[in-house]
Subunit: 227 residues, 2 copies
């Protein structure tokens, strides 16, 4: 039932028309190549950056002709729009899957492994995923591309809303002080995003010290929320 609720939440940002929505073979197959194109697009995005993303390359990677590609996505921007939905959905799913899996395993009496500490760990893990890498490219490119921003910004806000609902549900103890939980979440996301980029420069040791400090901050906020 936990999984059921998660699926319900995910539906809010899930792009309609996934393969599982169809019974008939044609639509199912169509939807399948659509997904394979989007996957290929993410790969191409991560490797070449947003400006370097070429529909040609995407078709090649997906093992699909340029014609078929055009059938599903009439032009580049349509592909990008599809990719945005795809990336946000996968990113959220990735994290939530890991999270519910971990919650089942941990010992509730272990003080060092409180749920919010777990969440910080898992978020760091999710930040290092391919989906997040794609998100990063999109977010950075959207800063100076009006056309991209037009599609990206609303999707990002929708993602944020769903995310906060999920956090609210996952941490009922914080419910008395939602602004503190939001702060903890915001700090975690911003800090780990920055860490992802700066990490290779400053080295592992310093990364770990920063992570420890972050855990400390989140713990303090959790304490403050209890009162």
């Amino acid at each position: 039932m936990v999984a059921a609720r998660r699926d319900m939440a995910l539906r809010k940002i899930r792009p309609s028309g996934g393969p599982e929505d169809f019974e008939r073979w044609q639509q199912r197959k169509s939807s399948l190549t659509r997904e394979s194109i989007l996957d290929a697009a993410v790969d191409s995005l991560v490797e070449s950056g947003y400006a370097g993303l070429s529909t040609n390359d995407v078709a090649r990677r997906a093992g699909v002709s340029r014609g078929a590609m055009h059938h599903h996505f009439p032009n580049r921007i349509a592909l990008v729009r599809g990719m945005i939905e795809h990336v946000f959905y996968r990113r959220m799913r990735h994290f939530l899957d890991d999270f519910v899996a971990q919650l089942k395993v941990i010992d509730p009496d272990d003080e060092t492994l409180q749920p919010h500490v777990i969440a910080v760990e898992l978020h760091w893990h999710s930040v290092q995923s391919r989906e997040f890498e794609a998100y990063l490219r999109l977010a950075v490119a959207a800063r100076n591309d009006a056309e991209l921003a037009e599609a990206f910004d609303p999707a990002a806000r929708r993602y944020d809303e769903v995310w906060l609902e999920e956090m609210d549900h996952a941490f009922p103890q914080w419910r008395s002080a939602p602004e503190l939980m939001r702060l903890a979440s915001d700090v975690t996301q911003a800090l780990q995003l920055g860490l992802l980029i700066n990490g290779s420069t400053i080295g592992e040791e310093r990364v770990r010290a920063i992570q420890d400090e972050l855990v400390g901050v989140v713990k303090r906020l959790a304490e403050a929320a209890k009162r």
Copy 2:
């Protein structure tokens, strides 16, 4: 004399061959167009992203022929290498200029405006500059471009070294606990980098709350360093 010391520090990362290094007109003029090309390259980078950066566009912006461009930078990667030095130098200069200017103005008795709090404010300001925007594009692109990374990573490490020396000099009170100062600096940089990217999604109010939390963290670290 503060400025003199700053210049000395800057020299460590300053690209040699700036216009002020030459007396003869020809070399001086040459160096001037070189700089204008690099400036144009930064603009192009910020607007089009790393992959979209075209030497054509750069020449157009700089008001220079493609031939002249080729004379200064034989190919694209040479231009990029020049740009990296340029960006790091300007970024550091931007921050240090602001910092020494502010230190002159503040009231040493004002508790709310301790130097490290000022530094956090100013760093946030510097993060929103054009130079940092360029740094961001380069850092993100370098994650999946070996050729770029080869030029970018060493420059980033050199920058980090000089940065830490500068901080050590600016905050002698922290000298007893250099690892705490480094931590404060790292947290500030990572958090504000993430904030720059996420800011447009989460809105001003939450950004401010995060900044306040950051100031709190830095203050606590400063306290801890005193003992």
